[in-house]
Symmetry: C2
Subunit: 228 residues, 2 copies
C-alpha cells in the first residue's frame, strides 16, 4: 500500500518564492551537569539540506539549530539553541509570522529534572537520573495552527507506520516524514536517507533511498503543493 516515488529532477524553480519557512535541525542537548549531557543521534544534516533547498527555491528561511559545527547555507538566518526548552522559545517566537514549519530536529522527550551545577563526582557505584518530560513543541504548534503548514519528523526503530499515522493525527500535522533509524545505511549521521511521507487522508508515499539533498527536494515539493 506504499507507493514509491521516483525522484524528480532537481529543480531550480522558485516554488517557494517569498514563503517564510521555519526549519529546526539537530538534536537538543539536555544537561546532566556542566560536563555531561543527554543527546540523540541526530546530526542535523537533514534539516540543513532542507534549509538550503528551501532557500534556493526562493523561501525566506529561519533555521533553529543545535549544530554550530555545520556550515550555514547562504541566505539562511540561523538561531542557535541547545535544550528543548530553548528550541521551544525560539520556535514559538517565530511561529506566528511563518507560512510553514518543518520540525526536522530531534527534540529530547525528557530532560534531567535537576541538572547539577558542578561536575558530579563518581563516588558511588550507581547513580540514578530522574528525568521529566519536555514540552512537546510539535503538539503545541499543531494546537495553535492558523495559516501554517506543519511538517513533522518521526524516527522510529519499530512499528514505524503505526507510530507515524498516530503522530500525524495527534499533533495535527499536514505532513509527517518518517524514517526507520534501525537501518544502518540511512538516517542518523549518514548522507543518505529513505523516508515515508504520511499525509491526512492519503496513502503513504515511499521516497526511495537517496542523498539528503534529493530527499529534501521531495519533501519541499509536497510542501509547496500545500502552500500554493
Amino acid at each position: 500500500e506504499i507507493a514509491t516515488w521516483f525522484l524528480s529532477e532537481i529543480t531550480s524553480e522558485q516554488k517557494l518564492k517569498n514563503k517564510r519557512i521555519l526549519i529546526t535541525a539537530g538534536g537538543t542537548q539536555e544537561a546532566i551537569d556542566p560536563v555531561r549531557l543527554i543527546v540523540n543521534r541526530s546530526s542535523g544534516k537533514m534539516g540543513y539540506a532542507l534549509a538550503k533547498a528551501a532557500q534556493q527555491q526562493g523561501a525566506q528561511v529561519t533555521l533553529v539549530s543545535t549544530v554550530p559545527a555545520l556550515p550555514v547555507p547562504t541566505g539562511v538566518e540561523v538561531i542557535y539553541v541547545q535544550s528543548a526548552q530553548e528550541m521551544r522559545q525560539a520556535v514559538l517566537k517565530t511561529y506566528p509570522q511563518v507560512d510553514a514549519v518543518i520540525m526536522a530536529a530531534a527534540v529530547a522527550d525528557y530532560r534531567v529534572k535537576n541538572p547539577a551545577p558542578t561536575k558530579i563526582k563518581k563516588h558511588s557505584e550507581t547513580l540514578t537520573l530522574e528525568l521529566v518530560k519536555n514540552p512537546d513543541i510539535l503538539k503545541e504548534l499543531g494546537a495553535q495552527k492558523e495559516q501554517q503548514v506543519l511538517v513533522g519528523f518521526a524516527a522510529e526503530t519499530h512499528d514505524l507506520q503505526h507510530y507515524a499515522q498516530q503522530k500525524l493525527i495527534q499533533k495535527n500535522l499536514d505532513l509527517l516524514v518518517a524514517n526507520d533509524v534501525s537501518r544502518k545505511d540511512i538516517g542518523f549521521g549518514s548522507n543518505d536517507n529513505e523516508v515515508i511521507l504520511f499525509q491526512p487522508e492519503q496513502a503513504p508515499i515511499l521516497v526511495a533511498k537517496a542523498d539528503k539533498a534529493a530527499i529534501a527536494q521531495q519533501i519541499l515539493a509536497v510542501l509547496a503543493s500545500k502552500l500554493s
Copy 2:
C-alpha cells in the same frame, strides 16, 4: 605556587622519534536506547592536536577515537570506538606495546545499566535512568604500568588543584593535564586551551592560554623528557 611557562617555539625536532604512543580522543558515548545517548562535551580536538604533533615529532601514533567526523592526521593509525567499554578493550590491547599513553579522551564515569533495545516511547511523565560505574581505564593502566609513561587529563569545574593532585597519585600517573572547564573561553569545543601540568613531587606548571596545537607541543615536551 604555580609557575607559568611561556610557550617555546614550535619545533620540528624529532624528539619522539620511534616512540610508540597511544592517544585517546573524544568523549565516550553511552547508549540509553538506539536513539538516545549520554555523552560529554569533549570535542576530541585536544587529542587530535596531540596525535598530529606527536606524529610530526617522529612518534608512531595510534589514536583511539570516538570522533569519526574529525580528519585523521597524516601517518596516524586510528581505531574508532563509542562506549567506555569499547575504548577500554582497544586501549588494553595496545598498551603492552607502547612507550607512552596519553588519555585525552573524556571517558564516561557511568553508563546506563540496561540500555533499551528499541526506542523508549514517552508514555510516562517521568523516567528514571539507572546508571552504573564504568571501568576506570586510567586506573587500570596505572596499576599495570611497566615501561609506559602514563599521561592523564582532568576536566574540573571546581577544586581543580585538589582533584588533580589526588588523581595523579591515585592513578599512578606520570603527568596529569588539568583544565578548568567552567571557563567558557577555553576547553570543550574551543580551539584554545589553558592547562596546568601536575607531576609527582613537582610544583604544578601553568601552560598559559594558547591554541590546542601549541598546548600539545608543551605537553609533548614534558613527555619527551620522561621518555629519553
